[in-house]
Symmetry: C2
Subunit: 164 residues, 2 copies
DNA sequence: CATATCTCTACCAAGTTTATAGAGTTAACG
DNA sequence: CGTTAACTCTATAAACTTGGTAGAGATATG
């Protein structure tokens, strides 16, 4: 349909395209009135998300209780909880999997590092423990509603973007 | 050589195996006396890193001025700076690339998000800006020396690990 | 000149990501 | 009722990334 620049992919810590789509779709839902469902096609069009891909994403979010759906004509998706109660952390976990940078630091999918003899004596584990703590604190305190209000405030504070 | 359990790969935010190897190798170098070079083979053996892979990693670190090498017999690698001045952040950037979760938040490889109309109005950009700030603060304050001292303290504080 | 070491480039198998395809299910509406 | 607009589910595939291997070369020591 559209030609999309191929990724120039920038290694590991990037969130996936799928997660971006998920968060954008949730923002779109959050901007609705919360009563009337919004359709996959409508969201896909407004956010430039491939429709069939978005279908899968919304299904994932539904299975995890973030959104609910209504079928048939007049159907669509709705947030289950208010957007101020949906954190970026939980969405990322659903879409991209564990947040931890090492398997041995994951809360949801703990696993010993294959090559690491002792976790206590592992130099990098201790450091990444601190890193992931900082990360989690941010990810689980910031919500879809925060994203929206930060964006809206930024737009308000910057009127008439002039030519660069 | 050894059979390694195949990754059970846990999605995005994980640091790469290569970065783990790099950080472990640097820790190994840091534990040396800083005068006598340590050989690739020695480090590879002591840290269970595939030797040829470690060669590449050390070359990357050399190009970026983290380590230096001596060739020929008696050769090997040395840290350029004291381990207390080598941060996890800079090593990760060298090995895994940009730290930012979105291209439009990268300091070293800024790039507009293809699908994002306006950065100012992008809900997820504002949130991830906060997240990556927290992450960077941790990654650039913690050093190889910190990793070592944290590990050593943890080991000292936990004598005779009993059977679980 | 033999040998131990680092250096460089190319290659490749397996897995992941980002989709696309298409058949099925459900509810509203006339 | 039957048509249609929506969601649901499973399968498939191209492009890319990761983790690792191979092998020829360069250089210092003795």
């Amino acid at each position: 349909m559209e030609v999309r620049e191929t990724s120039l992919s920038m290694a590991d810590p990037m969130i996936s395209q799928k997660a971006k789509y998920a968060l954008r779709a949730l923002s779109a839902l959050a901007r609705g009135d919360g009563k009337q469902p919004r359709q996959i096609s409508e969201i896909a069009a407004s956010q430039s998300i491939p429709k069939k891909f978005l279908e899968q994403i919304l299904l994932d979010l539904k299975r995890e209780g973030i959104v609910r759906s209504l079928r048939g004509k007049q159907g669509g998706y709705l947030l289950v909880r208010p957007s101020a109660e949906v954190t970026f952390g939980e969405v990322l976990r659903i879409i991209d999997g564990p947040l931890a940078p090492l398997p041995c630091l994951s809360i949801t999918a703990y696993r010993r590092c294959d090559d690491c003899d002792g976790e206590v004596s592992c130099e990098i584990r201790h450091v990444f423990q601190k890193v992931v703590e900082a990360e989690r604190a941010a990810l689980f305190s910031l919500t879809i509603a925060d994203g929206i209000s930060m964006a809206d405030e930024a737009v308000a504070g910057e009127p008439v973007p002039e030519e660069a």
